[in-house]
Symmetry: C2
Subunit: 395 residues, 2 copies
Amino acid sequence: MSGDFSRRTVLGIGTGAALAAGAMVRAAPLQQPVKKRSDSLGIALVGIGLLTEGQLLPGLTRTKGVHLAALVSGHPEKAQRYADQYGLPHRQIYNYDNYDRLADDPSVQIVYIVLPNFMHAEYTIRALKAGKHVLCEKPMAVTVHECEQMIAAAKTAKRHLMIAYRCQYEPLNLTAMRLMREQALGRPRIVHTDMGRQTSLQIPSDAWRLDMAKSGGGALADMGIYGINAARYLLNEEPVEVRAWARTDHDDPRFKTVEDLINWQMRFPSGAIGEGSTSFSQPGTMAYQVVGETTRLVADPGCFYNGNKLSLIGGNLTTPHITEIDQFAREMDWMGDVVRGTAPMVSPGEEGMQDMRLMHAMLESVAKDGATIATDWGYRRAVDPAAVVDVPAIT
Amino acid sequence: MSGDFSRRTVLGIGTGAALAAGAMVRAAPLQQPVKKRSDSLGIALVGIGLLTEGQLLPGLTRTKGVHLAALVSGHPEKAQRYADQYGLPHRQIYNYDNYDRLADDPSVQIVYIVLPNFMHAEYTIRALKAGKHVLCEKPMAVTVHECEQMIAAAKTAKRHLMIAYRCQYEPLNLTAMRLMREQALGRPRIVHTDMGRQTSLQIPSDAWRLDMAKSGGGALADMGIYGINAARYLLNEEPVEVRAWARTDHDDPRFKTVEDLINWQMRFPSGAIGEGSTSFSQPGTMAYQVVGETTRLVADPGCFYNGNKLSLIGGNLTTPHITEIDQFAREMDWMGDVVRGTAPMVSPGEEGMQDMRLMHAMLESVAKDGATIATDWGYRRAVDPAAVVDVPAIT
């Protein structure tokens, strides 16, 4: 990798024409365990929920520059079972009481916070105080104030704080971003996003998401955030106004404290309009489309863990073939490169706080019956993912 | 056909389960000229533009109960050419000076207004005064007042006035409507529509559409109306509030008097939200999707003349196979049945006026920077298309 962070192998900026003509993007097959680099960094996974079990532990068998170094859990048997499965010594299992002892564990350089949203701030700040770099799941926290505290703690500790926006590291989404940077779709007019799924109070990982104090925003915080982030990274600009309507059946026991459906619009300085819907009462959906002046881009699904599909309609573009990668392995490897100083920070705490502020502006609009809320707080992304994040080299 | 207007052959109300399981809907192949019924009614086509040339004249070779009986045009050579092609005697060619003489032509029962929007009201009212039934292209007119005058003229003349909402007679759209009436998608949450295309001042049929006085609303009147109408016929209810933002480059010579992109939302009494975008600076798009609680329905394209595609995502529904028909033949045949008294009026003037009022409410919202406009004027559709319009029997 070059020192100027220009990891532009196949789909780098400047290759729009080749891409439009049908560039191939391939990655290592998902199944192969990957050999680690000699300077691989240790990651502690904090919280063993569905994401850790289904994505992050398998993902860490496919990373090159980071590896599983610790598990933090309140369930010792579960932790031991996964430690055994992934070859982690039992002494590397921590719980929430001895969590701060990570400070004395030189095998851990990065702490990945995979806890319910309301625990993000506390465990991020404690990890930073323990001298660790932190990768934190999105949404970053429950309040804007927590985000500010987390960012300040990273600054004080002189450690990296990265928010786990996996789509900013994922080939299909990077391809879409690059097509837009190249103006390959023509002037962007509309970015439309649909993000939602079904929830149940009987599922523990859903139950806390249906509690406003723990989730910070129901469907909006859980699924809608993908659409908000996508509108921003696709357009590569920040909205100046947002507004939203909610539609929630508050007789439904799931929606005692959170909104269900939220439908929002954003005005962007370029003239583009972003819009989206999110709900906890619909089939699993993570889709978006961009209406450009010459071409319409449909990503449906666009943000699933796998099986995503990109279509380009209108114009002379050929839909590029995009091969799946393990998004989580890629994101964790990127964090490793950030810590080593060989990759730029693409999704820092400020990026997470921007979505948090926008979500709160939407909730404010809902409370004001759809009033338009000004949102130009001056935030600008420090690093454009499409400018620096490569896709894996052709194998 | 039964006398109670229940043309429920394959996809009638009550057959949702069969439909969901993958019912076949077939129609006569598009190419075959169809033998006329003995009581076929004569149609005069008023205006020979792209729609008449490309769709209506060919369509009239496929109708069963109506036939080409006259052409009205300001271009005698063009009219003669098409008369020759379609076997119409030259004496059946009218122009705009002798148009009212249609009153004395017993071979014409129905006048189909295919003129630019600003001419709809005048030529509709003159045809009604001549004792003819009128099928009028959408949008119905340029102002709500014109719509009122047209409806009053039909009442005075005791003649039928039908607005040419072809999608209300088209199998894919009827299938979508029926799935929703059966609650096959679960509770509807969002209806999203994308309707747009490219325009050019150099194309005569576009030039008048880019003139506010002649079109009544630019992209909104030309393409957006499909999305507004779709949201209403899919949900089978009327919006109580609308709002809209416009995005128009007024330096573009096309947009001196009309808006380009309009992005709108509607609130429906059921709790569903309708939304849509329309523009004259995008690739040809006529698509919609419905997010239901259990299933997402994607029609992309959904309103093209042909090549439409229906997908059902989530839930246990099998996407039904829908065979294309000639939408224009079907619509004109329906008008014939209305005149004969064997089919109900599905899309009367009041239906056209409702869309006109909604479009004007959107333009009012645009002028008020997106203010929410109340739209519950008490209009209710007299006949639900999904309840009465059949699809052609299996051949």
